[in-house]
């Protein structure tokens, strides 16, 4: 955990002098004895779509509220485009929020809701701007309705329009899609991404839905217990997680205990219950002589015993299929290994391979470049429960 933070800090160091995005430095927020956000460092580049991903209670909403000015940090600083806004009043910040429950004003109609921010800043040309914004979110025909007369998706778009119209430096989205049903949520994800590309503002999106974070954001920061576990592009986080929490929270992972035998060049050799497997050094994040070998279920190939699988590298014999579920696009197996652990395997339904039955003997195999190695000091099940819901 600490090592990942160090790496992140090193990577950021050169950009520190001239940074025009949002920067959080050593940000801490405690409520009594409980520390919601713990010494957080974060840089969000201007114009990016940034996602703060984490289970409920990990401090992501508190972080967002501190950026919005609705919560005062216990210590640390927030700068936006070079200006310190740590203690600025919320109504003086060029930051707007789309609230989790939308928080639309029930006594005002849609037009007045959207015009609220412009009118407070005494902006000119309010009428034209409101109409333009309402047509952007495709609500031009509903301007005189009250929020209560709209559906959830429409209310969400009003909330978005109400915040966007102010052209804030940073737009904060606090799980805005949480209350929508699945189909609407997918549509709104695409819509949000389209609008972000169109207006080019910085979006910070807080969510506990890993799929949502990965589809929408350029950069995802995975947050847990008040600290950022890992930050990077969605593919990078998924393919090369640095902690067991990230490995389990973003998708699923098989984590197998192993003893490191040696490091030579860009390969690390690990003894995995008597079988030697190798992991690229760049994907090894273990310091001690023990580690968790991680492999994503869809990267594991399954075959008959002794069969030459088309993945030269780590081959693990002696598995027994203990559970099969056919999902259509893939078949998901649980394979019990000789050391008692059950590994997950997703076999894509290409038609080339037959479907194995429960109780059959199988061999597993994966390419060394897909495996990763995590430090053994962490809990192998961290983040697993939160990730699956």
């Amino acid at each position: 955990m600490s090592s990942s933070a160090d790496v992140a800090q090193e990577r950021r160091a050169p950009a520190r002098a001239s940074f025009d995005g949002l920067r959080l430095e050593n940000l801490t927020k405690s409520f009594g004895a409980f520390t919601a956000v713990d010494d957080l460092d974060l840089d969000v580049p201007r114009g990016s779509f940034f996602a703060l991903l984490g289970p409920s209670g990990c401090g992501k909403t508190t972080t967002l509220r501190m950026v919005a000015g609705l919560e005062t940090p216990t210590s640390g600083g927030i700068t936006l485009a070079g200006q310190d806004i740590t203690y600025a009043k919320p109504y003086k910040r060029p930051v707007n929020t789309v609230f989790q429950n939308y928080a639309l004003f029930p006594h005002l109609d849609i037009y007045e809701n959207v015009a609220f921010g412009l009118k407070r800043r005494k902006a000119g040309n309010v009428d034209a701007q409101v109409k333009e914004m309402l047509s952007l979110v495709e609500l031009d025909s509903q301007t005189r309705k009250r929020p209560a007369q709209l559906s959830g998706g429409q209310q969400q778009r009003v909330a978005l329009a109400r915040a966007l119209i102010n052209k804030p430096e940073v737009l904060l989205l606090d799980e805005p899609l949480g209350a929508l049903d699945l189909k609407l949520r997918r549509n709104m994800q695409i819509e949000l991404k389209r609008i972000q590309t169109e207006v080019g503002l910085t979006f910070i999106h807080v969510t506990h839905d890993q799929e949502e974070a990965m589809t929408m954001a350029d950069t995802v920061a995975v947050m847990n217990a008040g600290v950022i576990e890992q930050m990077g592009a969605p593919e990078e986080l998924y393919e090369n997680p640095r902690t067991t929490f990230v490995a389990n929270f973003l998708g699923q992972s098989n984590l197998i205990e192993g003893t490191i035998k040696g490091r030579s060049g860009d390969l690390v050799t690990v003894d995995m219950h008597g079988i030697d497997v190798s992991v690229p050094a760049a994907r090894s994040h273990a310091d001690g002589d023990k580690g968790w070998i991680g492999i994503r279920p869809e990267k594991v190939l399954i075959g008959d015993p002794g069969e030459q699988l088309d993945a030269p590298g780590n081959s693990v014999p002696g598995g027994v299929v203990s559970d099969v579920s056919f999902v259509g696009v893939s078949t998901q197996y649980l394979v019990r290994m000789p050391w008692g652990q059950e590994l997950q395997v997703f076999a894509q339904n290409t038609g080339h391979r037959r479907i194995y039955r429960s109780g059959e003997q199988v061999d597993l195999s994966w390419r060394p470049d897909y495996a990763f190695l995590l430090d053994a000091s962490q809990d192998a099940r961290a983040g697993a429960q939160e990730g699956t819901d």
Binding site: G69, Y91, F99, A103, G117, R120, R162
Partner: protein, 301 residues
Amino acid sequence: MASTAGTAPVTTAPASDDSSRRRGLTGYVLLVPGVVWLALFFVIPFYSLVATSLYDPGGSVFSGYEMSYQFSNYWHAIQDYWEPLLRSLWYAGLATLICLVLGYVLAYAIAFKAGRWKNLMLVLVIAPFFTSFLVRTLSWKLILADGGLIVNSLQAVHLLGPDGRLLATPFAVICGIVYNFLPFMVLPLFASIDKIDHRLIEASSDLYANPFVGFWKVTWPLSLPGVVSGTLLTFIPAAGDYINAQLLGSPNQRMVGNVIQNLFTQANDYPAAGALSMILMILIVAMVLFYVRRAGTEELL
């Protein structure tokens, strides 16, 4: 067996007809308590009041009154008593306004700032009702008395002349009304303000509204239902009140309630008293209707 099955529909048809008729009657039977209650406590007294207001003023309690549709009673009542009538509306209006300001601050504090003291503070608002209205008003007489702490202090700082007094002034009467009716303002206001979602206020500050503007654009409009019911609950009884003017005021602060009470109990001029009561009632109903329309609270309530 077969025959009973065959006759069953024949017997049930009139039965269901009968039961539907009975069901129709049941509704009226259930209405009876309400209708009796309304007749006893509203229609009959109201009829009696209307009739009294139209009696021939030539009669007396001893010789009896004649019902002669004397609409001139109303005209005479207005001519003779327009001053206390206007004063009542003025005092009640002013007291309502003061109650609104004080009550709003109190209700806001209880709803948003009291935290775990909320329930205790609400009990404290209602606590004065455990003692009699009269006793509480009489204790204001002591508080504002000549030579009392308040008068002496005000004289010491020369806010009040050496002969100045608080008792028997409009100030004392309005103070009494404000004090006595404040809970009627606080409770509906609290109910309204307590319901306001705090996140809406956060949203307004997020949208560039400073606390002052945010209050007028969000908190105040959302609390309007409480404002309307609070002002009605305060203004209506305050306009007809006579205890405060009688105990804390002088004849110069006479309100229409005092006049009506006097006409009924001392002067025994029933027609004038009845006419004055009707005028007060009509005035208040008209003002309330106008006010509720203007406040546009139908959809808020």
